[in-house]
Structures are given as structure tokens and as C-alpha cells.
Amino acid sequence: MDLTVNLGGIKLKNPVAVASGTFGYGLEYADFIEPEKIGAVIVKGTTLHPRPGNPGPRIYETPAGMLNAIGLENPGIEVFLREYLPRLRERQVTVIANIAGNSIEEYALMASLLQGQEGIAGIELNISCPNVKQGGIQFGTDPETVRQVVAAVKKETSLPVIPKLSPNVTDIVAIALAAADGGADALSMINTLGGMAININLKKPVLGNIFGGLSGPAIKPVALKMIYQVYREVDLPILGGGGIVNHIDALEFFMAGATAVSIGTGNFVNPCLALELLEGIKKYMQEQGFSSIQELVGIAHA
């Protein structure tokens, strides 16, 4: 059975990745799951300079989902390259970096810093983080800006570039087409939906940042629709995710048009999910007589 996939030039040993921000720098969960067995580990979003992140509370559970407003806490790209990457390289983890910038120039600069770094398989562009006030969200909602960010990054690197699209837009296809236009090698979708919660005892927003990003099973239907739409109109492989917590969910994403899937919130529920889910996929393929995962991709469009 062939589980390898080619995600815009990144060869993955299997089509299940773990999503940025939900799996730290790849080793936090190492007592529970071997990160080198996972299709790809997309590490925590990195910025040019260190960021302390948002004040708490940063997370809150909602029906079949959760809100987060981490605010891109991270030690900056240099620390990432110096301290975290070598350990991941040593373990031969398939690493996709995830970067967020405050300007097109910052994205390009980070891409150039990643260029030539051994152990990085590709770059995911977070142009859709709803928790960062300066920069971030606006990039992901205007097609022309998306095109420019992608093009600027592509100019600095030979690594596959995967913009991660925000679902908080009127026309996801327009954004995806713009990313393709800018030279994207694949698309990652979806990031979190904007949301909030209110503490009725304190009579104020729960999150320190007021607004946060909604993830988890609650958003799965939204993710599937956007992927289904983009698959029809845009000729790029899709890394699909949003609410996957079991292999049935993952199969829905493949059938909607995802070449690979990513697990975010699901890791919190079950840290072994990425590999357990793979077993479920294999079993389904066996029972249904599929020999390659690629046969499943987009099959629901027939």
C-alpha cells in the first residue's frame, strides 16, 4: 500500500502531518509518539524576533472545539534554527517551518534565513493568524497581498512554499488563486475561524486577547467545504485540516481534495493520534481495495 505523497515537492512518508502551534517544536510529545514517524511536523509559528505572546487566559474550550489566542509566542527564528532544528534533524523528523511576518519584507527575510538550512522540508506561510494584531490577519484576506507575500518568499528560497489560508474570508477560491499566482507550491487550509467567548460571571471576554481562533471538530464542516471548493478551481495540492480527530474525518478530507492532512487540536485529545489515524486509513484502504492514498484524493467530486 502506497501512503507516500508529494505535497508540492515535499515527499512525505505518509500523508498525516501535525499542525503548527499544536505540536510545539516536535519533541514535547516525544514521550508519547515518535515524531520521525509522522508524515510531517509543522513546528510552532516563528517570527523574526522573539515574541512573548498574549496575556492569559489564552485558551478556552467551546462546544466540540477550542479557542486559542497564543499570540505567536516564540523565541524568534534564530533560536529556532540554533536550538530546535538540530535536535529535529538528528531525529530525522520531516520538518515544515511555519513563519509569520509583520510585513512582506519580514516574510522574505525569514525565508532567506531558512534557505539552505538542512532539515527543513518546506515552509508554511502563516498569513492568517487571527491573534496577532500588527500584521498577520490582513495578509490573508486580500488576494493581491497574498500573491505578493508568496511571490516575495518564493524569490528567496528554493524550498516548497505553502501558504496557510484563513477561512475568515468571503471568497476562499479568490485567495487560493492569488496564492497560486504568486507561485505557491501547495496550499494549507484551514487556519482557525475567528471567535470569542464571554465569562458571564466576570461579565467580560474570557480570553486575555478578547478574540481567538476557533479550532477542533466544530470547524470541520467549514474546512471541508473550503477545501472542496478550492480543489475544483485551483491546481495545487492541498494540506487539509480543521477538526480532524479520527481516521473517518481524515478520509473526508482526502475525498474532498486534500493530498495530505494535518492534525491540530486532535493532538491534545490524543497525542498518538497522527499514527493511530494512519492505521485507520490503512484499514479502510485495505477493506475498500485502494492501493494508493492518491486514489482517494478528490474522489467525492466524481
Partner: protein, 262 residues
């Protein structure tokens, strides 16, 4: 090394009002347990609630591979836990976090536990006693029926002083230093451990500072991953710090001198 385990529930029963004790058999997990650490528990196989819930190691019996949990039903997750029956499996992940530090040589220790805040202190007391330390435990609750850990504390040979809000047993009033000033003035405390409402711990922090006593407290925060991967359980150890600590990884236990409580 922490692990994921399906632990068999041995017993799970209401002790008083919304307070429960659950005993589980967790041969893998039990080996690694240290006082002050927690288990990250899935309260149901469904999606509501979605996330795991952190519960402290209340008591640990390594020979029998048994872990006890003391929990208060406050919401959906704990309500589902309370519904579980002996023989069912509990999906646990752990032990996680940085626990209490045990003194290298025997000391005279003060343990201050408010309500379910006693949960992480019983196992600590057991280990401290095993190391020969002498213990004075201040145990504060609303009503005497909530003194679930009392018997076990006494059985391991700790001196326990009680405060109840309604005066049903021991001193009457909240678990704050002035209430115990007489008792404390007669003791030579070398280290303090505390867990309970933060406002209460803050008063004991202040007391410790004045009396030049070192100590540790256990903090709480909403958690998602429990292992430092999501950066969700962040708080500033001191308001002026630029960066945040993670309760699940840097704690839940912190040294008093690392913190400014609120």
C-alpha cells in the same frame, strides 16, 4: 517517562456533596509518579467536552500500582468522571509537570491545603514522612465533612490543624496565617508547601517571606496539551516579566521566590 494508559477504575465514589475519590490501577503510569505532578485525563470518549482535564496525584501506592484522585465536580468534565463505574477504563496521560521538590535531609515542613487544594499535598506528605520529615498540616475547608484527607494524613503521622468556615471542627475561619499565629509561633518551620485558592496562597507567601522560609506552591490554569506544546497555560510568574511560564511544563509547582501571586 510519562505514558498514555487505559487505567482500570477500581473505585469511584462520592465522599461528600460534590467531592469524589477515584482509585485506578495504572501499572505503567504509577512507576513514574512524583508528588505534585498531575494526570491529564479524558473524561469521555465523545467530543463534548473535548479536552483532557488535569487532576493531581492525590495518593499513590507503587506496590499495588494504584493511584487515587480527589476531585470536585465543577463542570462537564468532572461530572462525567463522577459517572464512571469501577471496571471501566480511564484514559490517562502522565504523570506530567514538575512536582514538589523533596528536601535532601529531613526537615520540619508546613503543608497548607485549602479545600481540594489538599489533593496534591497528601502524596507529598507521604513522601516527606518517608524521608523522615516532620509535618504540620494546616487543612482548611468549609465544613468538617470535606476533610477527606484527614484520616490518611494522620495515619502517616502528620500533625494536622483544622480550620472550617462554619466552625464545625477546629478553628473557625478561613485558612489564613493570622488564624494559626499561635500554633505557628510555637513551631520552627523550615519549608512550606501550599495548594489552594491563589488569594490564600498569596497570604502564605507573604507570611513565608516575613519569616524567611522557603517554599513551593502549586498553580492552576486551563490546559490543552499538558506537555508544553500549545503554550496555552501561560501566565507571568511576576507581572513585570516579559515572558510567560507554562503551568503544565514549568509547573504546576513553583518556588515561592519565582512568583508574585495575585
Amino acid at each position: 517517562m510519562p505514558s498514555l494508559e487505559k487505567a482500570r477504575i477500581i473505585s469511584n465514589s462520592k465522599q461528600y456533596h460534590n467531592l469524589y475519590i477515584m482509585e485506578i490501577e495504572a501499572p505503567q503510569t504509577v512507576k513514574e509518579c512524583k508528588p505534585g505532578q498531575f494526570l491529564h485525563i479524558r473524561s469521555n470518549p465523545g467530543l463534548d467536552p473535548l479536552l483532557r482535564r488535569p487532576l493531581s496525584l492525590y495518593d499513590v501506592d507503587k506496590e499495588a500500582a494504584k493511584i487515587s484522585l480527589l476531585y470536585k465536580v465543577v463542570g462537564k468534565g468532572t461530572a462525567l468522571l463522577a459517572d464512571m463505574l469501577p471496571g471501566e477504563n480511564l484514559d490517562i496521560m502522565g504523570p506530567l509537570g514538575r512536582g514538589f521538590s523533596l528536601p535532601e535531609s529531613a526537615k520540619k515542613c508546613l503543608l497548607v491545603g485549602g479545600g481540594v487544594g489538599m489533593a496534591p499535598l497528601l502524596y507529598l506528605a507521604r513522601e516527606l514522612r518517608r524521608g523522615g520529615s516532620e509535618l504540620l498540616v494546616l487543612y482548611g475547608v468549609g465544613n468538617e465533612k470535606e476533610l477527606l484527607a484527614l484520616e490518611r494524613l494522620e495515619a502517616i503521622g502528620s500533625q494536622v490543624q483544622i480550620a472550617t468556615i462554619d466552625g464545625s471542627r477546629g478553628l473557625k475561619g478561613p485558612l489564613i496565617p493570622p488564624l494559626f499565629s499561635e500554633i505557628l509561633s510555637a513551631e520552627h518551620i523550615e519549608f512550606i508547601y501550599s495548594c489552594g485558592p491563589e488569594s490564600m496562597m498569596k497570604l502564605w507567601q507573604e507570611w513565608a517571606r516575613i519569616n524567611h522560609i522557603s517554599g513551593e506552591v502549586s498553580l492552576e490554569e486551563y490546559m490543552a496539551c499538558g506537555v508544553g506544546a500549545c503554550l496555552g497555560c501561560a501566565r507571568k510568574a511576576k507581572p513585570d516579566n516579559e515572558f510567560y511560564v507554562k503551568i503544565c511544563q514549568d509547573g504546576p509547582v513553583f518556588r515561592l521566590d519565582e512568583l508574585e501571586l495575585e
